[in-house]
């Protein structure tokens, strides 16, 4: 039945001919150009989650502290004393590949907006980044641009960028991953929702003027990067953090004065998705007149206004009698605020340009009729073979040399050169600065604090997507626990390749299942997240890279614990048991040059008990430092605790058993921590007893002190040399 629709038009809006037919069927007529653009955007992968939505139902958002799960601009969790934290993570991979500085900056802007759209004041930002190796100039350019863009946006906006992670692997060449997370704080009874409610209420567009930038951003993120992306380049948006800061302050004031009914930021697909989504959530319709929209450029038509992705804009729903109060607030900040329409009870999105009706579509068709795709899924046989490979240790350089190489590996080396370009202290709340396991941000006026981390090891998920995704959750939990926080909730960002490839869709399925399982087992609900597909360049997909953002709660800030050794003479204790697990390890990659083998196993029950032991000991005040074991294993954890404390260590009581020295030193067995304890005051005995009572293995392995890092018969490196190698690793 297909009408004579030009395929190039369908390509522009990223719809298939059968999807077009479906639109005609649902509408009972052909859509006009504006309507087609609106369908294209709302049914895109980016807005409509047409491939991932069915999978996301695996995630559980149930939990006693959850105030808002997925479905709003960000999730929200109760942290006690009337406070809630609001958080979400989001990708900006495709824009960053095209223009790293602007792409990353607007990524930060977008996630901050999601948080303050909920009414929360942004109190922290994090960024999880993946690049190709730095010896290629293009990758260095992307790295520099992305880090610069993140810093420029966050620093100007005035949110502390307190953490994140950076990995370098070949698969991210040309397709870097840029995931930004933001956390906001709000009184729990003040949460704002993105609802257009109340017939006759005004629809206002506030913030930046609308320009031609970013048109088709949503569909852009829903296809592979190709030569063709070059020609879509005008889509690049330049963010304005100064304006966003004013917009945030104005929105905070609206909420404080209770002047708005609903609030929805403009992100992907701009005015289209914000009007459609808020109408849908409110169960209402919206009618707007694009002629009322303040423009940055002349001659824009309805199509362009509806699909513009100009940044720093917000849609607010206001009762008519509050209009003047709202205008007063925006005038204070010299911001535009246009009344562009009103809420109706028709359930339709009606777009006018002056008198002319440009679009008239039932909202339900745009939101509830998204044609889900269920692509074929099957595992890659080659991958299974790689996973089955044993790690061959013969020919390795010996532990001392391996230690030096690992310290200087870009995946392990000090990140200070990056985070000192981010303001990580503004707002005067950052208790544990970047460089530790998780950042800790205190909640002023209480004894409470939150710990925040992002984690996701692409090597593990490449080798075993299901296990790797679970390990990301486990590692995030340990990072949070090491500071003294109880894991509270998770946000996730699923970075995958083209899901039309059966092995990619299989990876996605597996990763979601693994992550969902780990979250259930470790009792951390998923409250928000984001999906980024089509991370492919020239047909090659990035490794499956699910990233976990986790927030934990510290009830008494006095208990906060850091990674650095504090006092010479303290006993160093290893909690947890090491196994012969070098599959997928940083050692195998950096020292042996192989990404293969089986990633470390996960044992949820053990993770849970181990975390309990560590939390209990931290709360008793027994630990002078705590650090989880992750990339590079025990040796790297020891080194990091030494660097952070500015003191050496001697580890001479390791029990090797039948482990290889490499596995003992660099293996990445899970559920392990390195802690240090004052040997006096019977603390050590208490710690050992507590661990054993929880059936967690524990062993005093050495002593803090001196100016060398000494581990058994294998490693004896001057602290200063080790530090220099570690500090120079990012070049």
């Amino acid at each position: 039945m297909t009408a004579a629709i030009d395929p190039t038009i369908l390509h522009e809006v990223a719809l298939t001919p059968p999807e077009y037919d479906r639109i005609v069927e649902l509408l009972g007529r052909e859509p006009n150009r504006v309507e087609l653009g609106i369908f294209g955007a709302m049914w895109s992968e980016h807005c409509g989650y047409k491939t991932s939505k069915p999978l996301l139902r695996n995630f559980s958002s149930a939990g006693p502290a959850v105030l808002q799960g997925p479905g709003e601009n960000a999730g929200a969790v109760d942290i006690g004393e009337g406070w809630a934290v609001v958080f979400k993570i989001e990708s900006h991979n495709h824009p960053s590949a095209i223009e790293p500085h602007a792409g990353a900056a607007t990524g930060v802007g977008g996630i901050l907006r999601d948080v303050f759209t909920m009414g929360a004041f942004p109190i922290a930002a994090l960024d999880s980044l993946r690049f190709g190796p730095l010896d290629q100039p293009r990758n260095r350019h992307l790295f520099g641009g992305v880090v610069g863009g993140i810093g420029d946006y966050g620093n100007c906006f005035g949110v502390p960028t307190v953490g994140g992670e950076i990995y370098f692997e070949d698969c991210y060449t040309e397709n870097p991953l840029v995931n930004a997370m933001a956390v906001g704080l709000i009184r729990r009874d003040r949460l704002m929702r993105a609802r257009a409610e109340g017939k006759g209420n005004l629809v206002m567009l506030v913030g930046a003027d609308t320009g031609r930038d970013g048109i088709h951003g949503a569909t852009f993120a829903s296809v592979e990067l190709s030569q063709d992306s070059e020609s879509r380049r005008p889509a690049v948006q330049v963010g304005n953090p100064f304006l966003e800061k004013l917009l945030m302050e104005a929105c905070m004031q609206l909420i404080k004065e209770e002047l708005v009914v609903g609030m929805q930021d403009l992100g992907a697909a701009g005015l289209t998705s914000s009007t459609v989504e808020s109408a849908s959530k409110g169960g209402m319709g919206i009618e707007i007149d694009v002629a009322e929209v303040s423009r940055r450029e002349q001659g824009m038509d309805a199509y362009e206004v509806m699909l513009s992705e100009s940044q720093e804009r917000m849609l607010i729903i206001v009762e008519p009698e509050r209009q003047n109060d709202v205008l007063r607030v925006f005038r204070k900040y010299d911001l535009h605020a246009d009344v562009i329409g009103e809420v109706t009870d028709t359930g339709r999105l009606v777009v006018r340009d002056g008198e002319r009706v440009e679009a008239d579509v039932p909202v339900g068709l745009l939101v509830d009729e998204v044609p889900y795709r269920y692509p074929e899924a099957h595992p890659s046989p080659e991958r299974a073979a790689i996973r089955a490979q044993a790690i061959d240790l013969t020919g390795g350089p010996g532990p001392a040399e391996a230690f030096r190489r690992l310290l200087a590996s870009p995946n392990i080396a000090s990140r200070e050169g990056v985070f000192r370009t981010y303001d990580h202290q503004v707002q005067n709340n950052t208790v544990v600065l970047p460089g530790g396991d998780a950042a800790v941000v205190r909640i002023k006026g209480t004894r409470r604090a939150i710990a925040i981390t992002t984690d996701g090891n692409g090597r593990y998920t490449y080798l075993d997507p299901r296990l790797g995704a679970a390990l990301a959750v486990a590692e995030a939990a340990r990072n949070v626990v090491a500071t003294g926080a109880r894991p509270l909730a998770v946000t996730d960002c699923l970075n995958f390749g083209n899901p039309e490839k059966p092995e990619v869709f299989w990876e996605l399925q597996q990763a979601v299942e693994g992550m969902a399982e780990a979250c259930r087992e470790l009792e951390v609900p998923v409250v928000s997240g984001n999906v980024s597909l089509y991370n492919d360049t020239s047909g090659v997909s990035v490794w499956p890279t699910p990233v976990v953002g986790m927030v934990g709660l510290i009830e008494d800030i006095a208990a906060v614990t850091r990674v650095g050794f504090t006092s010479p003479g303290d006993v160093i204790v290893l909690i947890g048991e090491s196994a012969e697990e070098l599959g997928g390890s940083e050692y195998a990659r950096t020292v042996l040059g192989t990404v293969a083998g089986h990633p470390p196993r996960v044992n949820y029950d053990l993770e849970f008990r181990t975390n309990d032991v560590v939390l209990e000991m931290i709360n008793q005040g027994f630990l002078n430092s705590a650090h989880d074991l992750a990339d590079g294993g025990l040796a790297i954890a020891v080194a990091e605790s030494c660097f952070a404390g500015g003191v050496g260590a001697r580890i001479d009581q390791l029990k090797r058993g039948d482990l290889s020295p490499e596995a003992l030193l660099f293996g990445e067995t899970q559920a392990r921590y390195l802690v240090s304890i004052d040997p006096g005051e019977r603390r050590l005995a208490e710690v050992l007893a507590t661990a054993r009572a929880h059936k967690v293995s524990v062993r005093a392995i050495g002593v803090v002190g001196g100016d060398r890092i000494e581990i058994g018969e294998w490693i004896s490196e001057p602290l200063a040399d080790a530090r220099a190698a570690w500090e120079g690793g990012l070049g």
């Binding site: 223009e99 500085h101 320009g211 930038d213 690049v236 948006q237 330049v238 304005n240 450029e297 100009s310």
Partner: protein, 88 residues
């Protein structure tokens, strides 16, 4: 070799958002310059360089613009080159 001075102008492409220009424009209007319509901000670089001849100097500057001085995704550039000291 002779010495040349290149003046390079780098500006945002016409459709690209220019937050700096917006602030400067508002600032000027607030100061009472009511006639100011729009301001676009750009960079102005002065480069002293040596080259065998003018053609080579121009070609070097052209390449420098493409590789470093301008970001082709969002910026346009133009330049002039003039000789400042004769060949040695």
């Amino acid at each position: 070799m002779a010495g040349y001075t290149a003046e390079v102008y780098v500006v945002l492409k016409p459709l690209v958002n220019d937050p700096e220009g917006l602030v400067i424009g508002d600032g000027l209007r607030n100061l009472g310059f009511a006639g100011v319509k729009t301001v676009r901000s750009g960079k102005y670089l002065t480069i002293e360089l040596e080259a065998d001849d003018r053609a080579e100097a121009e070609q070097q500057v052209e390449e420098a613009c493409q590789k470093l001085l301008a970001n082709p995704v969002i910026e346009d550039y133009r330049f002039t080159v003039r000789e400042v000291s004769a060949a040695t």
